[in-house]
Structure formats: C-alpha cells, structure tokens
Symmetry: C2
Subunit: 527 residues, 2 copies
C-alpha cells in the first residue's frame, strides 16, 4: 500500500502544501495536502502503465468485483465523505448524500455492464474460402482497453465526477488504470474517495498503480499528466479555458491522444406562446429552481431563456426574476469561481443593451456567496452582444425577448450546448418541431417541457454536445455509453479458436450478444 | 449542374493548371486540370453546409438510392474509369477493375446498412415517474449526421479510397455532404468518379453541394479545406507527414474537429520455428507476393519480417530475397514516391548494420519504377537503427533475425501498426499466444498464418490502429463500422411521440433493432 498512498499523504516534509477552504466562511481547512510534483506525475503514469499490463487482461468479472467493493467502501464511509465534501464545497449534505448514491450507482452500473459482457461489441464475419475473386478470410472484432487514462476532475461534482466518479469508473471498467488529478477545492474528498477505491483494489489483489491520485493546485501538474507518454486518453470536466489548454497539449504530443472534455454550456431554453399562456407560473417555478440549483454551478444550468416578445414574455421575465431574487444566496465552490462570476455578471448587467431584473442581492461578507441574477435583453440586443452569449457559471440567466417565429433561426446561430429545452403546448407544436429540428444540430440532449439540470444516469443518456460544450460531440461522459471512450477495436483474422479471446470464440462461452454475419444473437452461431 | 461541375472543368481560363503523369513513361497526360483556388475551397465548404441541411434530413432510403445509382454509374463507366486510372497510376487494369468492384461493393454495403436502419444505434430508457428520490425521465438516443466532411484522398487506391471511395460513401451514407480533395496523381480518375456520383445525385434531386471535388497539387488547398469552419470532420489516407499536418491544423481551429487519418504502417510479421520448419517455401512465396503487390504501395504491406536467428531463418531470408529479386520491377505512383523510396532505401541499405539481400534491380530509365528490395539485420542491430523502424513505402522489407523467445518483448517496443501477423504451427502455439497478447496493444488487426495486404470489406473488419498508424485507434476506415466516424449521438428527453425521430418512436415504425431498457429487440417494446 505504500506506493498507492504516496500521493495522498497529508504529512508534507519539505514539499509545498495547500489547504482546502470552507467556501461558506473563507477559512482554511485542516489538514494540509502535499502538492504533487512533476516526479509524482511521472511515477503515477509509469505505475498506471505497469498496472495496465495486468488490469487490461483481468477478466471483466474480476474488474466488476473491485468496482462493487469500491461502491461498498464509499457507502460505508458515507458520513465522513459527505461531511468532508460539504465542508470543502458548501454544496450541502442532502445534495452530497444524493450525489454519493449517484456515484455508487454509476460504479455498479459499469460493474453490471462488464459482467454482462456484450460491451466488447463482438462482431464476427465468417470467411468464405470459395469467394471470388479471392477467398474471404474469417474476421472477428472486439473492443479492448485503450491504455492508462488521466481523469482531470472539476470542482462542482466532488463525488459523481470526482476521484471515484463516472470517468474513473468507466475507465476502470473498460480495463484502463487511472491517474486522477483531484480538484484543489476538495482534496479531502478526493483522498477519501480514492482510499475507498484503493482499499477495494488492495483487498482483491488488483495491481499497484491501478489508481493514483495527484493533489495539486498548479496547472503544471495536469499539463504534465496529459503530456506523460504512458497516458492514452484524458477525461476532463471543467471550464472551457482549462479544457482547451489540455486539448492543445494532447494534440501537440508526439503521439496525440483523445481528450474527452466537457466544458460547460449555455443550455438555451425556449418557451412557446401557448406554453406560456397555459403555465407561466409553473415554468417560472421550475426554471428558477433549475437556475439556482447548487448555486447555479451545473454545466447543464439553463443560461439562456427565450420568451415571446409580448406582454406575457415581459411578465414572465419579471415573475422569474422575482422568484430568483426571493431565493437565499448560496455558497460558490471557491474564490476563483466567485471572483469570476462577480466581475463577469457586473460587466454584463452594466451593458447598455441589458436590463437587470434580479440581483445581485445581499450576501455574507465572509466566504464565497452568490445570489441569483436575471438580466434581460431583446433578441437583437442579444445577437449584437457577445457577452450575453458567454456562459456565466453560477446562478445567472439571460431572458431574451424574441418573436417565436424567429427562435429557430436564432437557435441556429447559437454555439454548441450540452442541452436545449423547449416548452410547448397545443398550438406551439409545429413551431416546436421546427425548433427541435434546428436544436438537434446545436445540442447533445433535447429536453421537452422540463429543465436540463439533473442528468439521468441511464443507457440512453447523452451528456455531450458540439464544441465548445465538448471537445468531441461523439462521446458521452454519463451513462453506459461512456465506456466507449476507453475502448478500441481489434480485429482477428483467421486466428484459431484456442487463441481467440473468449468473446470471439465460435462457441460463445460468455453467452454475450454478438453480431454474427449481420445477425445479432447470443447463440454460438448466426442461426 | 453548373455549380457541381465548376471545380472539375479541364478548361482553364487564367488559372493555374496541372496534368497527371503516366508513371510508366514519365509523360504528361491530357487534359490539363484547373488547380483549385482558396475561393473554390470556400465555395465548396459553403455548398456542403447548405446541402447538409437537406441531406442530413433526407431519409436513409433516399440516401441509399443515390448511393446505389452512383454504384451503377461507376460500373457503367468501368472501361473509361479503369483505363484512366491505369494510365494515371500504373496499377494495371486487372487490379483496378477489381478495385472498382470493391468500390461499388462498398457503396452498396453502406446503402444496405442505412436501408436496414439499425445503424442509428437507437437506445431507449423508459422513464419512471415513481422513482425515488427523483422521477426518472424518458430518455431516447440515436445517432445523427455530424456535418460536412472533408475527404483527402491518397494516390495508392485511386478508386477504393478515391473520390467515390469508402470515406466518401460512408460519409454520404451517414448523411454528411463531402468535399473531396482529389489526389494530384490521378485527376482524371477523380473527375470520372465524382461525375458518376454527381449524376446519381442530380437524377434523384439530391441537394447541390452534396459532393464537391477540389483538384489541386498545392498543400494549401487541403489545409484550407480542413480550416473551413463548415467542415466538421476529416477523413485522410496518406503519409504520416501529410496526416499529421492536417491533424495539427484541425486541432488548432477555433473549433477543433476530428481527423480520421490512416497514415501507413510497418505491419510486422513474425514467423515461428515450427512454421518455418513446416512451410518455409510457401511462406516465402506468399510473403514475396504480399511485399511486391501493387509495387509495395499498400499501407498494409508487411515491412518487418521477424525470423528465428538460426540457419533456417538465414535460409528463409535468402529464399525470400531470391523470390523478390525474381519479380519484375513495377511502376510507382508518382515522382515523389519514387524519389523518396530510392533515397531512403539506398541510405538504409548502406547502413553498416544492414545486409542487402535483394535489389535494387534494373528498372526502365523513363517513368517511375522500382524493383523489390530485401535487407536484413540482427534484432540488436534493428533495435539500434531507427532507420529500420521507418516505413519504406514501396516493395521493400526488412528481415530481422531474432531468437523467438525475444520476439514478444521486441514486439512490445514497436510503434503502432495497422496489422501484425503471426505464422505458427504445432509447438509454436504457446509462443504465438504470448506474441498475440503483446501485439493486441500494438496493432488494429492480427492476421494468423496469412498476409496483411488485402483488407476484407466486412462488418468485423478493423482498418485502424494505434498512432502513428492512425490518428485515432478508435475508428476504422474500412467495413460498416466506418460510418461511426460521421455520426454523433443526440438524446431526446420526454419528447412526445409525434416529435420524436421515427427511429425512437415507441411504435418502432422502421422495425429497426433497438436497445430498450437493456434489451436488444426489433419489437416496439422491450418485451
């Protein structure tokens, strides 16, 4: 265990160290954490490469056992994890206990996925020795683990996207060791989550180096991790600036590697005239709750709200602003987010094109707090004001008054988002159809008569979207499909049964679902 | 048709122009082709974006009809296409007629794939309004077209990877318009293939801009195409230098886009002692044919041959060299390839570590010809000589004498390849198992007792591999899975049946295979 633990000691020696800060008070928290060094990065990457040789050849069932044990360890340590995460993030124990459930739920979902076994996407094309002009070989393909994965975690989901979050779980399930760069806002939480995984790995004899945690504030550490030649893929959740920096580093490597970066989003929401006539109050309630949820620190927070440019739209903007203003201020995750939001929101609210409808309200003088803010503009002012088309990370939204008939055309000009939402009733339907058709090209998830915050962890989820929401619109970081980021196909041509991976053997000993000569079946043969 | 044809006029006006060269004679061929300008690039990209709005919403059946009509047009023009390609490439009419069959076979394969419909990967997770702590929404996901695609074509497959080749066919099938940069070695062939597609598109009322062809020698043209903001993905086949240049341009865009680059490969082949004892002559025959096939200008040409370091290995190297030396010289595709190979091969053969066993032989004085070349080295010399670990594009291979027990360890040090091949018999089996296990991480396709040239166009094929063979090891450019490069997922949350894409409707009107609540079925419901 000494190797495993070396990067998460709170004893410091002569290293640099840092403490988390309680965002509710601004006070530094104990203990101090040793800042990872470039040597630590090199050691962790090398250990991951060494672990890859074992873990990538470990049967999915055995990998699933480690994941399930980790989920149990996390739940056994729930009280301490939730309390630590609450102190470090200010997100509240109810939310964090729910987030722990989501985290262990995700881990068990990936365990079940690899136990079932079909995730390797086994495909068999039988040969034909009599084919003309050339005999056709027997070709069989499956997906194998990609290699060591770097997971660079965000501040806003200390558990579900943290050291034992969905990126780590999907990579480990795929057969890839992980080096986590823990977010400096919650080192204690990261250490506890990594320890739960570590203990599960150690109990079951999983290889050393399966998971390493690097605790660091310095951006040189994730940069060095992405440069490490052993690392074969990067999962990142965070800001656009941070994601793009890692993307550029990965692209400049002698061997470029994929960076799956989820970088936040505007998440436009459109309200049709009939929907507004039918249920303005209910939408204002739901939308206000969605905007201030977690003090607005969701990558799926609805940041742009398009309403009809009539008296109902104006009244709705006021009603939404009143609800947001009535909410208590909430803590932001750290000084950086608080400082950025305060400056950005003040500049935006002061723009001549912009009408400030709510906030900023009173906040405690100590710590990092924000109250909800709503500003409004006409669609032409919106289109002419780049600042309104930038994400304001926090409880901030822009209401845009727009003729409903123009909304599809305006939607087509928006940058890529994780989500887009339409509220429609009755006579809105043909308008909504036109809008959804446009939004399909601008977002990864289309929400109907709802709110984008809250990402269901299900098979069919897509948590991704066109740039700049994500670095690649082809992949999701939530749901079972997230495992695809860490698998690559390999084809076997005319390889004898005894040397084939079990998933590709004619006898189908794993009884997995396979595509054989175009037919999907669990049977040994196509028919 | 005027817009469609504007980039492929052979009438020049005051533009720059160029002619193809007959590689057998070095003589310029008629007619001259107008060199595309930066304005042409901008026009083609804009036309593709405009076509995307229509083509991406065109039903798969209608897209398939255009593809099938294109295949018929190509076959109807077979004589002229094959003759032109032969003049421009020197690859021979038999090979090129076979390549035309492969090309139309690929086009019809993608047509059948989208007609069948399951390629959209429809996934449905039903909601649960009673779920705790929160109701679970209904989420449904399918894959939609990514956007306009740039296809940058190579010289060595004028048809199968040309203007109407697999990259174009898979992108069009996916719903993405294509801008092709035709290779300057065969502009006449590109023009004919594009015309066959154009005619099919025009007959069926497909949108203008569905396919544009840019004819150019200047590298600024593909560079500008990859920079064009409308382009959303790039498919490239060619050299490592060319691929990496486009990769770097795509990564530096304000919006980075995926480049699916296939950049050639060493394709190591390993021969076990028992295999050598049992069938040295047969292997020498097959391997010699594979090395000189198409004058060695295959990205899957076996470039490294590992043999046991005993008398049988030495004898085999000699036997292989004799067979290669006995083959007639063949034409290379162009002056660039010929000049590069001649210089590179001469430098390699002159290295003190290297023993030249065959070639270079006599070649005609006019045109661009090469005869087969075999050099040999010990494994330690090989490991210490970087020049031996570089692809020599042409009929050139290195035989490495190596103790069989060291081959797995040496294999682990090789750079990524498209393929790796093992020849084994009887007592070689456990050695072969160890070797295959290592090669799984170094190659995209493992070939058993065969030769890597000739890529079967089947469901299970993977034509890809770790960098530098490919820019991304997750994708294939051959086989039905190639369509995945041009599709992105979109999730629909709580969207009413009438507004859902047909593939996601509860009633499953398309009768496609879907994953519903974890079960794969063609039925409307999960059970």
């Amino acid at each position: 265990m000494s190797n495993r633990q070396s990067n998460r000691q709170s004893a410091i020696g002569n290293r640099q160290s840092f403490r988390a800060v309680n965002p509710r008070t601004g006070e530094a928290l104990e203990p101090a954490f040793a800042e990872a060094t470039l040597e630590d990065v090199g050691r962790a990457a090398a250990a991951a490469a060494s672990a890859f040789r074992v873990w990538s050849r470990t049967a999915p069932d055995a990998r699933a056992r480690v994941l399930r044990a980790a989920a149990e360890n996390l739940e056994a340590d729930r009280e301490r994890i939730v309390a630590t995460a609450d102190l470090e993030s200010g997100l509240g124990t109810a939310r964090l206990s729910g987030e722990l459930d989501r985290t262990t739920g995700q881990i068990r979902m990936f365990a079940a996925l690899i136990e079932e076994g079909s995730f390797v996407d086994a495909t068999i094309s039988h040969g034909d020795p009599d084919a003309r002009p050339l005999p056709r070989p027997d070709v069989r393909r499956l997906r194998v683990p990609l290699g060591p994965v770097a997971v660079v975690t965000p501040s806003n989901f200390p558990l579900a996207f943290g050291a034992a979050g969905g990126d780590t779980a999907s990579a480990l399930a795929a057969g890839c060791p992980v080096v986590v760069k823990g977010h400096a806002s919650h080192p204690g939480t990261s250490a506890l989550c990594a320890a739960a995984l570590d203990a599960a790995a150690a109990e079951s004899g999983a290889p050393e180096g399966l998971l390493s945690l690097l605790q660091a504030r310095a951006t040189e550490i994730p940069a060095a991790l992405v440069r490490a030649p052993e690392v074969q893929a990067v999962a990142f959740t965070g800001s656009r600036g941070g994601g793009r920096a890692l993307l550029d580093i990965a692209a400049a490597r002698p061997q470029p590697i994929p960076v799956y970066a989820e970088m936040g989003s505007l998440n436009p929401l459109f309200i049709g005239p009939s929907a507004l006539a039918a249920r303005a109050d209910a939408i204002a309630d739901g939308l206000a709750a969605s905007i201030v949820l977690g003090t607005g620190q969701f990558c799926t927070k609805p940041g742009l709200v398009f309403v009809p440019d009539d008296h109902r739209g104006v009244a709705f903007a006021g009603a939404l602003a009143a609800r947001v203003a009535a909410r208590e201020a909430g803590p932001l995750l750290n000084a950086g987010i608080a400082g950025h939001l305060a400056g950005q929101a003040a500049r935006t609210a002061a723009l001549p094109a912009v009408q400030a409808l709510a906030g900023p309200g009173e906040t405690p003088s100590a710590g990092y707090w924000a109250s909800g803010m709503i500003v409004s503009a006409t669609v032409d002012e919106f289109l002419g004001t780049p600042a309104l088309q930038e994400e304001h990370f926090g409880p901030f939204a822009v209401v845009i008054r727009c003729p409903p008939g123009r909304m599809p055309q305006v939607a087509a000009t928006l940058e890529g988002s994780l989500t887009a939402t339409v509220h429609a009733e009755g006579e809105d339907l043909s308008w909504a159809a036109a809008l959804e058709d446009v939004l399909r090209d601008r977002a990864g998830r289309l929400v109907w008569n709802g709110y984008p915050t809250g990402v269901a962890v299900v098979d069919a989820m897509h948590h991704g979207g066109p740039y700049p929401a994500c670095s690649s619109p082809l992949f999701t970081s939530v749901g079972t499909a997230a495992i695809a980021r860490f698998l690559r196909p390999v084809a076997y041509q005319n390889v004898p049964e005894a040397l084939l991976p079990e998933a590709l053997r004619e006898s189908n000993p794993l009884r997995i679902l396979r595509r054989i000569d175009g037919r999907v079946t669990r049977a040994p043969h196509a028919d």
